[in-house]
C-alpha cells in the first residue's frame, strides 16, 4: 500500500491505493464478494479496476487448487488504470486459495485466512504436507488468522438456516470484515441482498447479519501488531454521472445505442460461449430497446441468422469468442461477398482450440484481419477499456451500415469481466447516422455503389420493383448478376478492398495517448493492454525516459497517419498478449523495425513487466 500519511493506531491510516484479492473455492462466492466490494468502493468515490479470475469448471471439487476462484480489486484516491500488479491484501478462504495465490502477495502484505477451512483434509487436497499457518512459512507476511466459518455460523444462528446455507454466508462475514478495514459502507450490499433474496427474507437477513458481524469483529477484536483500519480518500474524477461497467455490459449498451443512432432494429444471433455469453444475456434483457435476440443451434446458425436479418433490413449482430469465430468464417465471407452489414463481437480468450476458456488473450487479431478464404477484407476494431467497449460498439454499427460491410469488434476476457467506473454518456449528444434503405426502382441493381464510400445500395425484401437475387457467387460489377468473367473478378476483388481501405478516411487519426510525438521509443498497444502500458509509460517517463504511448483502436484499416507516426521514433515496442501479431502487421505494412513484448499466460500484463522492458530496451539502446 502506498502510505499517504501515518496516523496513530487508534484512528484510520490514510493510504493512497490498495489492491485486495479475494480467493476461495469456486463455490465460496468470491466473485460476488469482490463485485460487492467494488460497487461500494465506486459509490464511495474511489477510482478502481477489477480482475475476476475464475476456473473453467463451474464447481470444481471443493478444496482443490484448480477450483480456486479469485477476484482482485485495485482502488485508489487517484486515477488508476489496471487491477494492480500484486495484491497488498490476500484473503484466502481455504488452503488451496492460499497455495495458488500466495506467490503474488507483496512481501510484508496482509494475509487474511479462514482457519476454519484449514482441516487436515483440505491441507492435503491443496498439497500441503504441513499446516503453513503453523510452520513459520508465512513469517514474511502480516498474518490475520480467524475462524471465519465458526464466526459466521454463530452470527446466522438465530435465522434457522440449514448448515450448508449458513456456512455459505461466510463470504458476507469476510466482506464485512474487509469493509471495516477499508472504511466501506455496508448499506448498498445489504440492499442488494434484500433484493436478491426477496423471496427468502430469512436468507437475506442471515447474510446481512453475517456482513454486520464481520464488521463488528473488526471494530472490537484485538488485532495483531501491524493490522488496523485504513482510509482511502476519494479520487478526483471529471464531473459527471458515473457507474461501474464491465466490458460486456458496455458492449451490449453500445450495440443498442448504435441501433438507435442508425434507426435500425437489431437482430442478435448468438450461441453461448465463454466469455461472450453475458452479452447475449444482456441483450436478451433489452428487447424493449429495439433488439430481437435469438439463441441459435450453433455458432454458424447464429451468424447466418444475423446475415439473413441484415438481408431483410435489420442489422444482424453476432457475439462469440475465438472457437466460435472460427466456425463463423465461411458465413462472414458470404457477408463480405454480398456486401451486407454485420457486426461480429469476438471476446477473445486463450487459444488455440478450446484453449483457456476463462482466461484472457489477444490472439485472434491475425485471424480477424486475414482469416477467411479468398481476398476477404472487412473492418476490425478493438476496444481498449471496459468503457471503450461502448464507444467501439457504436462505431462498429456506424461503419457496418455506412459501408455495407461486416465489422469485427475485438474485446477480450479481461475487458469482458473487468469493471471500472465509467462516466455514463448522454446518447442524445451522439451524432445519429440514419440508414436509408433504397426505395427507388429507377436504374437499380443490387451492386450499385455510392461513389464516395463504394458501399452498395441496401434494397430489402418487401420493396416493390427492387426484386433481386444475391449470393456468394461472384457478381458482375455493372449488373450484380452472376459473373465468372476474369477481368470482372479482378475488378470486384479490388473494389471490395478499396471500399474497406476507404474506411481510413472516416476514422480518427492515430493520436499519441501519452508523451511527445517523437522520441526514443513509442510503445504501441491495442485492446485491453491500455491500462498496463499507460501506467508503465508514465513510470518510465517519470524516470526521465523519452518514451510515448500510442494505442490503436482501428485495427483494419489502420489510421492513415500511423506509418508516419511510427517512423518518428527510434524504437517501437509492441506489448501484446499473444505470440506477436500486431507487431507482424506493423512490420509488414510500415516496414518499421518494431519489436514485440509477448505475454501469453492467460493473465493481463503487469505494469512492472512492461516498464522493465522499456527500461531495458532504452538502457541497451
Amino acid at each position: 500500500m502506498d502510505t499517504f500519511a501515518s496516523t496513530n493506531s487508534t484512528t484510520r491510516e490514510l493510504i493512497e491505493s490498495v489492491v485486495i484479492r479475494f480467493a476461495g473455492d469456486s463455490g465460496d462466492g468470491m466473485q460476488l464478494t469482490g463485485s460487492q466490494f467494488s460497487d461500494t468502493t465506486a459509490l464511495m468515490g474511489n477510482d478502481l479496476s477489477t480482475l475476476p479470475d475464475f476456473p473453467a469448471e463451474i464447481r470444481a471439487p471443493a478444496g482443490t487448487t484448480f477450483g480456486v476462484s479469485g477476484f482482485q480489486v485495485h482502488f485508489a484516491a487517484h486515477d488508476i488504470m489496471t487491477p494492480g500488479d500484486a495484491p497488498d491484501v490476500l484473503v484466502a478462504m481455504n488452503p488451496a486459495a492460499l497455495k495458488v495465490n500466495l506467490r503474488d502477495l507483496k512481501p510484508g502484505g496482509l494475509l487474511v485466512v479462514n482457519t476454519g477451512a484449514f482441516s487436515a483434509g483440505n491441507l492435503k487436497k491443496a498439497g500441503y504436507d504441513k499446516n503453513p499457518l503453523e510452520d513459520g512459512s508465512l513469517d514474511g507476511y502480516r498474518l490475520l488468522k480467524i475462524d471465519i466459518t465458526k464466526h459466521t455460523l454463530q452470527s446466522v444462528e438465530p435465522f434457522g438456516l440449514g448448515n450448508k446455507e449458513a456456512v455459505r454466508a461466510k463470504n458476507m462475514w469476510t466482506l464485512g470484515l474487509m469493509m471495516w478495514m477499508f472504511g466501506r459502507e455496508r448499506e448498498s450490499t445489504a440492499e442488494w441482498l434484500r433484493g436478491k433474496f426477496a423471496k427468502n427474507p430469512a436468507v437475506a437477513d442471515a447474510n446481512i447479519a453475517a456482513l454486520n458481524a464481520g464488521h463488528v469483529y473488526g471494530e472490537t477484536a484485538e488485532m495483531p501488531q501491524g493490522i488496523h483500519a485504513y482510509e482511502v480518500p476519494k479520487a478526483r474524477l471529471a464531473a459527471g454521472h458515473y457507474r461501474n461497467v464491465t466490458g460486456n455490459e458496455a458492449t451490449a449498451w453500445g450495440l443498442v445505442t448504435g441501433g438507435k443512432l442508425a434507426g435500425l432494429e437489431l437482430v442478435l444471433g448468438s450461441y453461448p460461449i465463454t466469455p461472450a455469453s453475458t452479452i447475449l444475456h444482456a441483450l436478451s434483457n433489452l428487447r424493449a430497446y429495439g433488439v430481437t435476440t435469438f439463441q441459435a443451434e450453433d455458432e454458424i446458425a447464429a451468424v447466418c441468422a444475423a446475415i439473413g436479418a441484415s438481408y431483410a433490413g435489420s442489422l444482424g449482430i453476432t457475439t462469440t469468442s475465438g472457437p466460435g469465430l472460427a466456425l463463423k468464417t465461411e458465413a462472414i465471407g458470404l457477408a463480405v461477398s454480398t456486401e451486407l452489414p454485420l457486426v461480429i463481437v469476438d471476446v477473445q480468450r486463450g487459444g488455440p482450440s478450446t484453449g483457456l476458456p476463462t482466461k484472457t488473450e489477444q490472439s485472434d487479431l491475425l485471424f480477424a484481419v486475414y482469416g477467411r478464404n479468398g481476398d476477404c477484407p472487412l473492418v476490425v476494431l478493438a476496444a481498449s477499456t471496459p468503457g471503450d467497449c461502448f464507444t467501439m460498439a457504436v462505431e462498429a454499427v456506424r461503419l457496418a451500415t455506412k459501408y455495407m460491410t461486416p465489422v469485427i469488434l475485438l474485446t477480450d476476457g479481461f475487458l469482458a469481466n473487468s469493471a471500472e467506473p465509467w462516466k455514463i454518456p448522454d446518447i442524445d449528444t451522439l451524432t445519429p447516422f440514419p440508414v436509408q434503405h433504397r426505395k427507388d426502382a429507377a436504374g437499380f441493381h443490387p451492386f450499385l455503389r455510392d461513389p464516395q464510400t463504394l458501399a452498395r445500395n441496401w434494397a430489402i425484401p418487401g420493396t416493390p420493383g427492387l426484386e433481386h437475387r444475391i449470393g456468394g457467387l461472384e457478381k458482375n460489377y455493372d449488373s450484380g448478376n452472376i459473373s465468372y468473367d476474369p477481368d470482372n473478378h479482378h475488378k470486384m476483388v479490388k473494389v471490395r478492398a478499396a471500399k474497406v481501405a476507404g474506411v481510413a478516411d472516416d476514422i480518427p487519426l492515430q493520436t499519441i495517448d501519452q508523451g511527445e510525438d517523437s522520441g526514443d521509443l513509442l510503445v504501441v498497444g491495442w485492446g485491453s493492454t491500455f491500462g498496463a502500458i499507460s501506467s508503465a509509460v508514465l513510470g518510465a517517463r517519470k524516470a526521465g525516459f523519452k518514451v510515448s504511448h500510442a494505442h490503436i483502436r482501428y485495427m483494419h484499416p489502420m489510421p492513415k497517419n500511423l506509418g508516419e507516426l511510427l517512423k518518428r521514433f527510434k524504437h517501437v515496442l509492441v506489448p501484446e498478449m499473444n505470440n506477436g501479431m500486431l507487431v507482424k502487421i506493423l512490420r509488414s505494412d510500415y516496414l518499421v523495425d518494431a519489436r514485440g513484448l509477448n505475454k501469453i499466460a492467460g493473465q493481463p500484463f503487469k505494469i512492472a513487466e512492461i516498464e522493465a522492458e522499456i527500461r531495458g530496451l532504452l538502457a541497451s539502446a
Binding site: T257, E265, G462
Partner: protein
C-alpha cells in the same frame, strides 16, 4: 400478421420468371419443379416483392436466380439459419427455402432439424435426387445402401436417411411429398404447404439424368406409377393400383398390403388417411417399394400448428415494448450510480 392483398392485376407465370438463363443440365428434374413453382405462385396470389427464395449450395440451390422475386443463394447447408434471420427481421415476408438431399440432410442436417422444430412459418422444398450433382456424382445421405459412386467405388455402406421420417422426427408439423414430373400433384402439395401456418416441408423426388438417372423410375415411371404410388387424401381410404390397399395388420402396428375383394377384404377394412395423425405419418413415410407403394401427397399436417417461432418472438417484442421503445439513457443510469461534482478549485483530473 395480416396477409397482403393479392396483386392487381393478377400476375402470371412469366412475372415470376427472372431474366437469367437457366443453367441446369438438359432433362434435369429441376426444370419441372421450377415450372411448377412459377405456375403455382400466381395461383395463390402472392406478391413478388413480398416473396423471398433462400437456398444453400448445390444444383437445386441455384433456384432463386431463376425466380423474379427476392432471392438469396447462401452457403452450403445454412439456408435454414439465413431464412430464420429473414423471418425474425420481417415475419411478413413469404419465405421459400430450397435445398437438396446433400445440402439439407448432410452438411445442413443440424439447421434443418432446428428450423423444423421451431416451426417457422415458411416453406421448405427439398429436392431429393439421392446424389451429389454439382460435385459430380458422389453418393448422398439419401443414396441407397451399396450405391457405387466416384467416392464409393465398392458401393456405399451408409444407411440412407428418409427425409420425410427425419422431418417428422424433428417435430415438423407439415410433411408432404411430390414427384418432379407430376406437376398437378406437386402444385397441390406446394399450395397446401404454403397454406399451413408453420414450416411446410415438401420432399420432391427429383431425377438427376446425369449422375443418378432413373433413381425413382421404379415408382415414378408412367407404367408403374399407378401401382407403386399411394396418393394420400385426407379422409379417404388408402387405395392404390387397381385393387390394392393398405391396412393395419391385425394385432400389430405394421402396415400390410391387401387386395380389395380378395379374402373377404373390403374397402371398409382399409386405413383411412388422417393427415393429423403423426404416428400414422411415420408408418407412411417409411414405406418402400417393392413391398409397399411410396406414399405421396400430404403425409402429415398437425391439427395444432402452434405459434411459429418468429411470431412468438415478435409477440414477446410487442410485450416488451408495450410502453414504447426503452430509453437507453435511463437504462444506463439504473442501479448503483453516483455523481461527481465539478471540483470548485478547478483542479479536476481527467476521468
Amino acid at each position: 400478421m395480416t396477409p397482403l392483398d393479392p396483386p392487381n392485376p393478377p400476375l402470371t407465370r412469366k412475372d415470376f420468371t427472372s431474366d437469367q438463363e437457366v443453367r441446369w443440365c438438359p432433362g434435369c428434374g429441376d426444370y419441372a419443379i421450377l415450372a411448377a413453382v412459377q405456375r403455382m405462385l400466381p395461383e395463390i396470389g402472392v406478391r413478388r416483392e413480398n416473396t423471398v427464395f433462400v437456398s444453400g449450395i448445390g444444383c437445386s440451390s441455384r433456384f432463386p436466380y431463376y425466380m423474379n422475386t427476392y432471392g438469396f443463394h447462401t452457403i452450403h447447408g445454412r439456408a435454414p439459419a439465413i431464412a430464420t434471420g429473414v423471418k425474425l427481421a420481417n415475419p411478413q415476408l413469404d419465405v421459400w427455402m430450397v435445398t437438396g438431399d446433400g445440402d439439407g440432410l448432410s452438411i445442413g442436417g443440424n439447421h434443418l432439424m432446428h428450423v423444423l422444430r421451431r416451426n417457422l412459418n415458411l416453406q421448405i422444398i427439398l429436392f431429393n435426387n439421392r446424389i451429389y450433382g454439382l460435385t459430380k456424382g458422389q453418393y448422398s445421405p439419401t443414396s441407397l445402401l451399396g450405391k457405387r459412386s466416384p467416392s464409393t467405388p465398392m458401393g456405399s455402406v451408409d444407411n440412407p436417411v428418409v427425409p420425410a421420417a427425419f422431418a417428422l422426427g424433428c417435430g415438423a408439423r407439415f410433411v408432404a411429398r411430390g414427384v418432379d414430373t407430376d406437376a398437378k400433384n406437386l402444385i397441390a402439395v406446394l399450395k397446401r404447404a404454403h397454406e399451413f401456418q408453420g414450416t411446410g416441408f415438401v420432399e420432391v423426388f427429383q431425377n438427376c439424368p446425369v449422375f443418378n438417372d432413373g433413381a425413382f423410375d421404379h415408382f415414378t415411371a408412367k407404367d408403374v406409377s399407378g401401382q407403386q404410388q399411394l396418393h394420400l387424401e385426407h379422409g379417404k381410404p388408402m387405395r392404390f393400383g387397381d385393387d390394392k390397399g393398405l391396412r393395419l395388420r391385425p394385432g400389430s402396428l405394421d402396415i400390410e398390403v391387401v387386395t380389395v375383394g380378395e379374402g373377404g377384404v373390403s374397402e371398409a377394412d382399409l386405413l383411412v388417411h388422417d393427415e393429423t395423425n403423426r404416428a400414422q405419418a411415420f408408418l407412411l413415410a417409411s414405406l418402400e417399394p417393392p413391398a409397399f407403394p411410396v406414399a405421396v401427397g400430404v403425409l402429415f399436417r398437425s391439427a395444432e400448428p402452434g405459434v411459429s417461432f418468429e411470431i412468438g418472438m415478435h409477440e414477446q417484442n410487442r410485450q416488451a415494448r408495450a410502453r414504447g421503445l426503452g430509453d437507453i439513457n435511463a437504462l444506463m443510469r439504473k442501479g448503483h450510480t453516483w455523481k461527481v461534482d465539478p471540483d470548485p478549485a478547478g483542479g479536476e483530473q481527467a476521468g
